[in-house]
Symmetry: C2
Subunit: 280 residues, 2 copies
């Protein structure tokens, strides 16, 4: 039974191999299958939200047993690359659906809030990256970056503060409060054509726009969190006093093959929200 299992010879597949990154030679079959499936995702064989081939089909294609394909898919589901749905099939994960929307945003209202967050775009422009940004995003020499700035605003919880801000110094947005000031840097090459108008027109999560229009799927991210004092500009935008403590969240996001494709720095006002984390 085990005779036909190849150790040196890699699995033969019909899909032509992609040019970049060679696969490790000796690894378990299911790992090889997993790598091949990741390549298929990377190459766009199946789009986010679509069903991939069934386990049976994949087993036939790769000439392995269904159990081996299953183990590969199990791991990819654990990595949030795929979503299994009994009776329906296995689907490419997406930032489109409720529940997986804003998967990376860990900011939560202290008391459960009905309404979500509103977005307000501040600016979007192309620029030469600073040295730090260029290194983190592994940019080619001379490659520009797109810089995006925006606010996220939450419905104000006025249930017990009705009297307090009767004389608020703001004329509009009495019922809404800025909570997050985001600053993003995106590699110019991958996001050619992204503009303020495009962002303005888009309804929905930004990561959904990226995967739908620019074929850039955010897979995982690393965040570094600090407490900082609000500077003058930040204070004005977030409507807090200068020097107020803010959460600084620096995020580096990766797509398939651990390629960094977004650097983001968020300043969170944690007066009525907190950053939640689960340690396991």
């Amino acid at each position: 039974m085990q005779d036909n299992v190849v150790m040196p010879a890699p699995v033969v597949v019909s899909t032509p191999p992609l040019p970049d990154q060679a696969a490790p030679s000796f690894s378990p079959l299911y790992q090889q299958i997993k790598a091949l499936l990741v390549r298929s995702l990377q190459a766009g064989e199946w789009q986010p939200g679509q069903a991939i081939a069934s386990e049976q089909e994949l087993a036939a294609r790769f000439k392995v047993s269904q159990g081996t394909v299953r183990k590969a898919i199990d791991e990819m589901a654990a990595d949030n690359l795929l979503v299994r749905r009994q009776g329906r099939g296995t689907f490419v994960a997406t930032h489109a659906e409720a529940g997986t929307q804003y998967r990376f945003l860990r900011l939560t209202p202290d008391r459960p809030a009905a309404a979500g967050l509103q977005r307000r775009l501040l600016d979007c422009r192309s620029m030469r990256p600073g040295a730090d940004v260029a290194i983190l995003l592994a940019l080619a020499p001379g490659e520009p970056v797109l810089q995006v700035r925006r606010l996220l605003l939450a419905a104000e919880d006025t249930s017990m503060f009705n009297a307090m801000n009767a004389t608020s110094d703001t004329t509009d947005d009495e019922t809404v409060r800025p909570v997050v000031l985001d600053e993003l840097w995106l590699p110019g090459a991958a996001f050619k054509g992204l503009s303020a108008e495009r962002l303005q027109a888009w309804q929905g999560p930004m990561y959904r726009l990226f995967e739908a229009e620019f074929a850039v799927r955010m897979i995982r991210a690393e965040e570094k969190i600090r407490a900082v004092a609000a500077g003058p500009d930040e204070a004005a935008l977030l409507r807090v006093p200068v020097g107020a403590p803010l959460l600084s969240v620096e995020r580096l996001s990766f797509t398939y093959g651990d390629r960094p494709v977004e650097l983001r720095r968020g300043l969170y006002h944690t007066g009525a929200h907190h950053y939640r984390n689960e340690l396991i």
Copy 2:
């Protein structure tokens, strides 16, 4: 082959069932096995760091196939309850070993540091809990809590600041800097006998003491993170100006069966450290 698989009848085991929490009646076999294994851990059949029975033995004990036991153990390994080691066996996870020590501490030096963190116990006393603490820890009415306070200190990075703090206002600890001020609340019933002396004498991670001496294993935790301004006492202890931004990390830790057993509030000075997080 499938005939002997029981759906209504649960698996018969030799270990007497523990009194608390009834198992759900209808669930996959491997889930039942998992629940039984968790109970064995809870009951102390195998101690942290020790090997559990082999897959073969467990399969025989529970009268299921090895594959079913394997799936149960796989999930428990993914939950960090067990650790598999090829050729050696499967071991109960512990906070003792390097690598799993300080598993829940996400604070990281901005630039890789050689030395770890020093501990300094401030105080440890029994007290009546506030209402919030009592609720979070699900305390019995009238049950006291142990309150512990301590500092974590890091070796100062003096490589480029030699001249700066020549006239530091502190007489001792020139080469060390407080980074974390921790305040813990522990249910008195579970930690009877814990004292300042006991903590002072202990070398190693606190969670290791808890699992070794009080049979309380921390399995997972939830953290809420905010940015706050340092108050007078906190500022003095952490040697920062009053009002300096600090990271407030509120942690609720759970043991087997999702029982909360520790509430902790840490204030982190993130001048040369940050809280790292991986989003997947």
